[in-house]
Symmetry: C3
Subunit: 227 residues, 3 copies
């Protein structure tokens, strides 16, 4: 049995597996499951019906994955909503906010002060910088880099596989630079680079790289302003 | 402990916090969590693994929210699926149907006879009229008004922040008038008004207001018919 | 009480209703709910907080549904993630992988070796062939046929109702033929047929049928190559 501090405010039917570490003044909602390898900082709040510390698993149709991750770290003052799933091998930094129904996979770094929206999904091997806003239902594909202070509007979709499973290929997600902003339901193709302070209009399909300060809109991401 | 009528059909490992009120002939699925302040009418059916009556919470990167809501009301004959989350400060009227994995935030009104689809998300301060169909995976942003008898196809995305977090700005969601229809995966920009009986084609990016009876399609919502 | 083999590795607070059948060497995560009529094969792994074997339910605004389904079958060696919901009347074949937060409705067939991504949704009366990859957040509408070896990228949206609820109409989902590939966030209109080995670019709105070997991109699915 894990060692649970007296300051923990624990819901009913919570499951805490062996080897979980819990800081001071942690709140854990009802029916939440915290699996082996999870380490929770001080003043963390976790909603009901979450599953934290999931062991990655694989399938022949999916790429080979590293199953040797053994720790999920959630740092101080972070807040996790209800029905959230987070994998082992991931670090959620301080003062992060993760919305209800969100899912974050293995080998992900979410830096301090960032918001991950409701039902947003972050795939494996991705890195999200400081003070970003990743809104509701955003899909962050695997192998994505999002720098600091980026804003990603609701329902933005990304991809990392140019050949859609047809060839051996190094998967490359988008690289989204500092302070850029992406409008809702935009589509980013694999490996797209979005420059610092760039703005992508809502519904844009981004088929090529976007320069620093550039604003693009429309089906091929036609530029309308250049910095 | 809340006062639970004998007519309640209660699953296993259900959590019902203090101060919950439950009507007659209510069904509550296994592992469902009903938090303080929730008031459930007669003949309501609730699936398994739901969390109802969530207290809003906030973060520096998010707008200030009202944390004084203290009641979630679910009226008679409404049906709530599995793994649904609903916040305090919200009223779900009679004969509403809420699909599995859906999430509805605080200060929302869903009027009678409306369907909220599977995994659809309704953000704060929104109002959805009577007899609407809000299909699967629709994203209803904050501050949205949807009038009666509206049809919103699957995966439609809305936004309410013109400056994407860059400026102080009064967030304005879309206003979607009576009997209009929006095709799947359409994108609505902030503050867009869609007229009565208008039709928006699937995949359309709606960048300006749409008139009564107008049908628009394509990337800028080009009109093809005017009433 | 159901007859649970000794080889079952069972989490805490699991609910298994009457009449559930469980094969050998099955793993069931914490807080998972398995409802009456579910039949689980050998070596199946199920995550935490799932709900399996859901009875379909309906609403006046929704089409009439068959409520006589009484069995959900999950065949050998299949793996089901966390917080997954699956309905009665459905068959999940051998060696299938179903991601976290996914939802699969009644009268669905998922054939062997297929991957259903995280938070993907498969509506009623759909058939998904062998060795398909249906990625994260894909929306498979009702009455869809997906043949073998199809690749569907993240956030692809489909629809089946040409009149958006306005007329009596036989709902027809897309028919997606063998080995075709659909890029992320593409939009498919009702009844669209996509030919064998066709490729649909990311973000494309597919408004008419696509021929065998054809590659289409852009707002109306303009062909750029014909086989």
């Amino acid at each position: 049995m894990s060692n649970i501090p007296k300051s923990t405010k624990m819901g009913k039917y919570v499951v805490i597996e062996e080897g979980v570490r819990i800081g001071e003044n942690v709140v854990i909602g009802h029916n939440t499951v915290i699996l082996t390898g999870t380490k929770i900082g001080n003043n963390v709040e976790i909603g009901s019906n979450c599953v934290l510390g999931i062991q990655p698993s694989s399938h022949k149709k999916m790429r080979k994955i590293n199953q040797n991750y053994n720790q999920l770290v959630i740092e101080n003052n972070t807040r996790i909503g209800n029905m959230v799933s987070i994998y082992l091998g991931t670090l959620i930094s301080e003062n992060v906010f993760i919305g209800d129904h969100a899912s974050i996979r293995e080998n992900v770094l979410v830096e301090e002060g960032t918001v991950i929206g409701r039902a947003a999904i972050v795939e494996l091997n991705s890195k999200i910088g400081k003070y970003c806003t990743i809104q509701t239902l955003v899909y962050v594909t695997g192998d994505t880099v999002i720098e600091d202070n980026v804003f990603i509007g609701p329902c933005v979709s990304m991809s990392n596989d140019k050949y859609m499973g047809a060839k051996e290929y190094n998967l490359i997600g988008p690289h989204i630079k500092k302070c850029s902003k992406i409008g809702n339901n935009a589509t980013l193709l694999p490996g797209i680079r979005i420059g610092k302070d760039a703005v992508i209009g809502a519904g844009t399909v981004v088929t090529k790289d976007v320069c620093e300060n550039e604003t693009v809109v429309g089906i091929y991401g036609k530029p309308i302003k250049k910095g």
